[in-house]
Symmetry: C2
């Protein structure tokens, strides 16, 4: 990543501030010049103070960048936790010489524990501006919790560059945004267009992802555009943003806690896109489908079950529903043993595509997830409070 | 069970008819005399022909008993499967000398495979009426799939006896009824009262159970009352039915695929009972809560997360929500390390109670589930198509 082109004018720093035993747990990336921004957040009723503060920042549409503390979500920590979030955001803004409302703050990790503020304060006091040129690989590493590798993506759009970083491998069924995902670009984009494009892209990428049906209290996705590279074609920009976000989503799904493979469920022939998404989520979230894929068992009956349990979708007629593993037809064809054997072999791949056609109309949606393994149970039975 | 009192007038038979490699896979229990009945079924869009046929039977309110084939759900098997279900129900009715509509047929097991009808026909032809007095332990054993033990319950109500049998340890989040549960009684109860009592009881027991969020295509619960013991107090009968159903539900949850413990989530202080149920289900279904309980990790933050993800429940205010393991307060008290240690020890029990009070009004509901273990993944990655 460090050798690749990066967007102009973003400065960043990563540090260990005493939250993780080893490695960076603090990352800040801020534009030197004013920027436009768009952001979406968790809808959780237990949203943490970082999310609540960042919603205020994001409402301005003029955030320059972000600060993230990992390993501790600072959620359900009462008034003390709220004061800590305000303090961290204010100190980072002071150091960078910007207003607090120009900074998005993100938190991720354990719920219900206060920040180690003494250590954080001492470390913040030692920071000086300007930070070095932002190192996105290091920033992506600093925001990791149970991720096994940092997740970054970068693309060129005209003269501009777009970089995305993300984290999150558990407690993931974002509803509005994923755990933490940040995009930085030097493209010059109108604020309203940026916001609209960002929401459209998030809906088809982060909101199409589910690892374990559990929606985090800390989900945050934001984009910062400082305009230093001049105007770009907006359609090309949205496509680049989509590609970048999808890359991160697929990376998150593949790296899902304990996951051994990515599952992509492509639903077509639905009443509308919303129904296609509902069906896709039901299939990709079914623990019986996820374990069958893990065991390379072409048990398409479990896919039928996962569709069937959507009892309110009365226009779904079992006889008209087609189910395929990749291009291998399972229902209603009553597959031969030879075909089942081919399907079992196909399920051994790193990426598995399940195709479902509902035979109703033209609605379509693709969702992303992963298999359910003994590793998921191990990680989450052992992850310390 | 065999030494205990049983309801008068029910005759039963179990057999191996070639679906399981070993052990009985066929059970029929039928009243000698006419009976009243009530029944509820899965709402799955992929409901199998057995469910569809049994809905017709149940509509009469005069079913005498049931026939069940296990190991094969006869679901998504097309017209052939539908014809097979009709044939099995008709043959059993003929043998018992009753109308086909007096028999409920239940199926459970793999989806998408036809019945081995040659073997089933030969075995049915060998049956003669009257069957011996019903042996409920054997019937409960015959209907098992991945269950580790048969599930039965019996209680006295006045001069009458009520017996219940059930099966099901996976693909369990019944919405209307559980996998398979049958109740037999010689109490004389008015048909409408029987139906109303049965639905109320099912809603607070089987519909309060979730092992893995997956709703089966075959869920069936039915009660048969032949009146031979004369009238009983209806309130006492409903209480007995509730006790019996709850016993079976707790047994199913404890025996959940791979489960090492029962989880009971008691929600109080809700806007209404429906909200309490919604919150309870969200907690008991969260894979992160389930794995934390499995790992004896008092990670109450995951319970907060599971409540918080119900974004539409805008009257839930985090500060007013109380979360306890049994009587050990976790939120909003910010528990001491000593208390967390006690909670960790408590989570080592076979049955874990999570108490949630929403602090809104008087709505209450209790739901039942189990922990998520590596065993669940193993069983379901290996279970053959």
């Amino acid at each position: 990543m460090t050798e690749m082109a990066v967007p102009r004018g973003f400065r960043g720093i990563t540090k260990n501030m005493g939250l993780k035993d080893v490695g960076d747990d603090f990352a800040a990336v801020v534009s030197e010049v004013p920027a436009r921004s768009a952001a979406v957040f968790t809808k959780s009723r237990f949203a943490g103070p970082s999310v609540i503060l960042s919603r205020e920042s994001a409402a301005t549409g003029h955030c320059r960048g972000m600060v993230v503390l990992s390993r501790n979500a600072n959620v359900a920590t009462g008034r003390t936790g709220a004061a800590h979030a305000v303090e961290v955001r204010r100190r980072v803004a002071e150091i960078a010489g910007v207003a607090p409302e120009e900074v998005v703050i993100g938190s991720t990790g354990v719920i219900g524990r206060p920040y180690p503020m003494e250590s954080i304060r001492a470390n913040l006091d030692a920071l000086t501006w300007p930070f070095p040129e932002a190192d996105y690989e290091r920033a992506a590493t600093a925001i990791m919790t149970t991720d096994t590798h940092p997740k970054t993506c970068h693309v060129r759009v005209g003269d501009a560059v777009l970089v995305g970083i993300a984290k999150g491998v558990g407690m993931i069924e974002p509803n509005m945004a994923t755990m933490l995902a940040f995009f930085f670009t030097d493209a010059d984009i109108d604020g309203d267009e940026l916001d609209a494009a960002f929401r459209r892209v998030v809906d088809r990428t982060f909101n199409a992802l589910s690892i374990d049906t559990d929606t985090s209290t800390s989900d945050t996705a934001a984009i910062f555009a400082n305009g230093l590279a001049g105007p770009v074609d907006t359609a090309a920009f949205e496509q680049a943003l989509y590609d970048c976000a999808l890359h991160l989503v697929r990376d998150i799904a593949s790296d899902g806690e304990g996951a051994s493979k990515l599952i992509e469920v492509r639903v077509t022939g639905a009443r509308d896109d919303a129904q296609a998404k509902l069906v896709g989520k039901s299939v990709v979230n079914s623990p019986l489908v996820k374990t069958a894929v893990h065991g390379c068992d072409p048990n398409w009956g479990r896919i039928a079950m996962a569709i069937g349990k959507l009892e309110d979708e009365t226009d779904i007629v079992p006889e008209n529903v087609r189910i395929l593993f990749d291009d291998l037809p399972m229902h209603p064809e009553e597959p031969s043993d030879a075909l089942l054997e081919r399907a079992a072999k196909y399920l051994g791949a790193d990426e598995v595509v399940i195709n479902v056609d509902l035979g109703i109309a033209e609605g379509a949606f693709t969702v992303y997830g992963c298999d359910l393994t003994e590793g998921y149970v191990r990680i989450n039975a052992d992850y310390t409070t």
